[in-house]
């Protein structure tokens, strides 16, 4: 049997402030269009992080995180357009809470009673995404298929977080927050429990861990991150529509993680960077052929790199010297 080396979270501690600095400096170096691409990539990156937390670290194969994303987006849209609320310090925590609440209810239903297979989780979350999209498509109170548009820019105090750099900085902030929470959880002793549940949940129970509570908790965290991403997305795009919670959105988030490498911190970042940033460049250069090019690239990656792009990073790192820890060195050197 192939013995794989211990998984690593993939990045050393110093990469976090350095990466944040680089991303912040980009705001001054790129044009308006590129900035909007990067903003969107960061928000979708947070959605990918939410999938990675659930699936990559805990083995919860969710194909429905766009539902939590949509819950966050609609929360912001409704409060903003119907109640005139624009304070981001209120709106975004509520978006986060909406995503968490939906995930908590679904998590209790999924994991509350007995152990379930990955495929069961995948099918139920897929079905929930499909049903939610259908329901919102026909629900006139939330704008039906058109969704809710004309969302006004949010404010922090009296400062308007408008398009361009301000919304980009907001996207950086929420993304770094999501990354920090993922790194913290994955590197903590609780992170070991998450991995134990992922790799052999029955064994985790035989060690005395409350498997259901761990899964519901992580799923709720994942929903909270997706809700926060959705709220930020609604602010950035100016609308919330059924497409924000669609199955294709969930699958896109899953693809970021598959392509980048699940169960690593760097994986979702690489996946989003390749599909949203490089992919956008391919789209601009090959306006009609780009779906074929991207699809072929994805298939190739899955076949050649089962551990995603992060697998290459891991291999390169091992060539520079043996690393034997399970990756808990992040924040705990």
């Amino acid at each position: 049997m192939l013995i794989r080396r211990p998984r690593t979270t993939g990045v050393p501690f110093w990469a976090f402030p350095l990466g944040t600095l680089v991303v912040l400096l980009l705001a001054t170096a790129v044009g308006e269009y590129q900035l909007s691409v990067l903003t969107r990539a960061l928000i979708l990156g947070l959605l990918a992080l939410s999938v990675n937390l659930a699936w990559g670290y805990t083995g919860i194969f969710t194909i429905g995180n766009a539902v939590f994303f949509g819950a966050g987006a609609y929360t912001v849209a409704l409060l903003n357009t119907r109640h005139g609320l624009s304070q981001l310090v209120v709106l975004l925590p509520l978006a986060l809470a909406a995503g968490a609440a939906v995930a908590l209810v679904l998590g209790l239903f999924l994991f509350g009673r007995r152990r379930v297979s990955e495929m069961y989780v995948a099918l139920v979350t897929l079905a929930i995404g499909y049903v939610a999209t259908l329901a919102f498509n026909g629900w006139s109170a939330v704008g039906a298929a058109n969704g809710i548009s004309d969302i006004a820019y949010g404010v922090i105090g009296s400062f308007q977080v408008g398009g361009g750099r301000p919304i980009y900085l907001l996207a950086v902030l929420v993304f770094v927050l999501g990354l920090f929470i993922t790194a913290w959880l994955a590197g903590s002793q609780f992170g070991l429990v998450m991995k134990a549940v992922r790799d052999d949940e029955e064994r985790a129970e035989f060690l005395g861990y409350p498997r259901a509570r761990v899964q519901v908790l992580v799923f709720t965290f994942s929903g909270a991150m997706a809700g926060l991403a959705g709220g930020t997305f609604a602010m950035e795009e100016g609308f919330a529509a059924p497409t924000t919670m669609s199955v294709s959105m969930s699958i896109m988030a899953l693809l970021y993680v598959i392509l980048g490498g699940r169960g690593t911190l760097i994986g979702p970042i690489l996946g989003v960077a390749l599909l949203e940033v490089a992919g956008r460049a391919v789209q601009d250069r090959f306006p009609t052929q780009w779906p074929i090019i991207i699809s072929a690239l994805l298939v190739l990656c899955v076949l050649v790199l089962p551990r995603g792009l992060a697998g290459i990073v891991g291999r390169l790192r091992r060539r520079t010297g043996p690393r034997d820890s399970s990756g808990l060195e992040v924040f705990h050197a």
Partner: protein
């Protein structure tokens, strides 16, 4: 102390366990032997709720565990080492042991990694005691079969059990490794009761204070190794093997 009273389990037409009663007192090493298919592993799995008993009662130190879930039974003091090592192969032995040792902590405390430093000393000692110090930072899946067995015994002990259940702890080991495993189990019995399922009858006779012979799901006899060796019914079950 582990006590079973009248435990039965049926799979379709097969009576896997038939009115099994058994008592393992504190600090006693008890062996469970019997031919293949006699119900030994089923009994262990019933004790830890992997298999639900149809009838009977089970208790640990007087606490009725009959209707408890797996994690509840572990918290009540049971711990098991499976027949095939079920360690976390992609984690290091150190992390496997940390997982076991930290299980009494609350999830909130684990998120804040409050006990990581405190448990390191205990983990270092366990690695040393189980001859795993040199491989503590490798992937557990890369360890030899014997080392994986020791790691799982160490994990089972790290949850500080009252009753330790070992399903074929020496499977696939060399004679030297078997002998050393016997020594370490004997040492562990000063901290808990031990119930072992094992095929190596010489090994179990040397190690155990008490042996129970199962045949077709029924207890044939429970007694000291000498009593078991003398008994005609046991000889009949095993024929010339005892």
């Amino acid at each position: 102390m582990l006590e079973l009273r009248g435990v039965s389990k049926t799979f379709g037409p097969l009576k896997a366990l038939d009115d099994v009663s058994l008592q393992v007192s504190d600090n006693v090493v008890a062996g469970l032997i019997g031919p293949n298919g006699s119900g030994k592993s089923t009994l262990l799995h019933t004790i830890v709720a992997r298999v639900q008993a149809d009838s009977g009662q089970m208790s640990v130190d007087g606490t009725d565990i009959t209707t408890m879930s797996v994690p509840q039974r572990v918290r009540a003091g049971l711990s098991i080492k499976f027949q095939l090592p079920r360690i976390y192969r992609e984690l290091t032995p150190r992390d496997n042991l940390l997982l076991a040792a930290q299980r009494a902590e609350s999830l909130g405390s684990l998120m804040l990694s409050r006990s990581r430093q405190r448990l390191q000393l205990q983990i270092d000692e366990t690695l040393e005691r189980f001859r795993l110090a040199d491989v503590g930072s490798r992937a557990a899946g890369a360890l030899s079969h014997g080392q994986q067995q020791w790691l799982e015994i160490a994990m089972a002990m790290s949850v500080s059990p009252k009753v330790l259940l070992l399903d074929e702890p020496t499977g696939g080991m060399s004679p030297e490794e078997r002998a050393w495993t016997g020594e370490i189990i004997h040492e562990l019995s000063s901290r808990c009761s031990v119930l072992i399922v094992e095929h190596d009858l010489d090994w179990i006779r040397r190690l155990c204070d008490q042996i129970t012979v199962l045949h077709q799901g029924r207890v044939v006899l429970t007694g000291t190794p000498a009593e078991i060796e003398r008994d005609e019914n046991v000889k009949e079950v095993y024929r010339a093997r005892v």
